[in-house]
Amino acid sequence: MIRFLLGRLVGLLLTLWISSFVVFAALYLAPGDPISFLTGGREVSPLTLAELRHQYQLDQPFLVRYADWLGGVLHGHLGQSIVAHQDVSTLIGARAQTSALLVGYAAVLIILGGIAAGTIAALFKGPLDSGITLGTTVGLALPSFVTAIALISVFAVDVRWFPVFGDGSGLLDRLWHLTLPAIALAVSSSALIARITRGALREELGREHVETARSRGIPRRKILRRHVLRNGMIPVTTVAGITVAGLVAGSVVVERAFNLNGLGSFLVQSVAANDFPAVQAVVLLMVAVFVILSTVVDLLYPLIDPRMARGGTQ
């Protein structure tokens, strides 16, 4: 068990370290020169240019800059935005909250909605099952931005139950504003979870030990809870974990669609403005959250499946 934990932790750190290198190196190689954005296309003397380069440490060799940057990141300094002339950490702070709230909200919808729909489809054969299966097929083909556009065109023009733009203020109002974005982000993933849940439960229902339990007269509820759901949730957890972690990237698109002022919108703006330090910081942050969430799910396995705790490192 301890070996398993240590192995995962080392893997996590290694992945994070290499990701940081990739993110930094990619933008170091970028052909666009951030200095031209600093000067705004004006003619500047070579002296000012050298000063600017020095101020943003653009005159240092690659490895020195990487080491500096990584050292800063580890201390919570994500660098200086070239466009906003502010610390990126300050710029990210409030936006990260919006994104985290959005991802959390969508995750709850995905897990509750997906598992509920999948369980119902697995247990009740017939029209209910066919309906849900059809729904998941359609849902899987719906990209988040398409759902977003559909929701906007319904709720912005025809029915005005939910706000379609803006972040809102205060927790409840923010959640209220995030409802449509969260639904847009959740639809296709819920369909995926529903499908996986249905498949896993159907497989468990057909197992010999379940049939045996049924023939021994054990109440259906108990069989479902202790034998079917418990075992069926193992593959569901895997997929749900990866899916929820993937929402971190998916939120970029939804934030753009709903004009939310989150990390994703900030990332897209920064890319458009060639604001390299900001892009580096946000991409690294998102990759880190993605990797950490995936690792947390890996660590949850032994709790769900005791066989893992005993031996397997897989």
């Binding site: 990701s19 990619a26 933008l27 083909a141 990209p143 556009i149 906007i152 991409v283």
Partner: protein, 287 residues
Amino acid sequence: MTTLTLRRRALPRVARTDPGLGPVGWTAIGVIALLALIAVLAPWLAPHDPNNISLLDANLGSSGDHLLGTDASGRDLLSRLLVGARSSLIGPLLVVVLATALGLTVAIVSAWLGGWVDAVVSRILDILFAFPGVLLAVLVVAVFRAGLGAAVAALVIAYIPYIARTVRSAALREKSQPYITALTIQGVGAPAICVRHILANLMPLIVAQSTLTFGYAMVDLAAVSFLGLGVQPPTADWGVMVSTGQPSILNGYPQESLYASALIVLAVGAFNILGDRFTERSQRSTR
């Protein structure tokens, strides 16, 4: 318990008849063929120049001249949707072909060689998994400027680990089969075994995986174009059209976004359904 399983094993296996793709599967093939045909013939099918701006004709409803109406710049929507099929389908096609070719080569070579090569390849794939497709695309676009090429390159890299992981585990299973040992003993060379036997036997799985990947690639590429980082306006592209049509929705003209969205959903749905059918068939044949 033992006798029960023994007797089960002893019974002759009921031959499973291949039910084929079924009506739904064939419909999906039909939809895909139709969209491909439209992409090829688009310049001849389009009734108007897709980039012809005419502000006097902005946001027209459907009429004899403009069957699906016009967008906010007065461009003919039908023509833009038809021509947009090109970049919307070619992008995912490139992603699938390149990612599959690279992914399966890496997977089969590393499964065949095993040892440290396999270990190193697996670790690299694990690290690539840390970059979600859209995020990698944004990073690559930040480096190489917005455009379809950069987005395709990024998604190829992002999809390689998914394809490689599936193919690798299947190739490992195949490698442990007795017939491979028989071939080795007969003196058949490794490249010949890998290509003519392992690859050939994995083909149904690879086809299924590529079909599903096409759907994902289409969603991701359209998303990148929607963000304004992929195909650049005024080029007609479904993902771009969903985005450029968004302001008009609030003015009560949702046509551009909705038509483009509908085509994306139709294409992605068709590829998903077909991919599922292929997956079922490949699983049935390996069982």
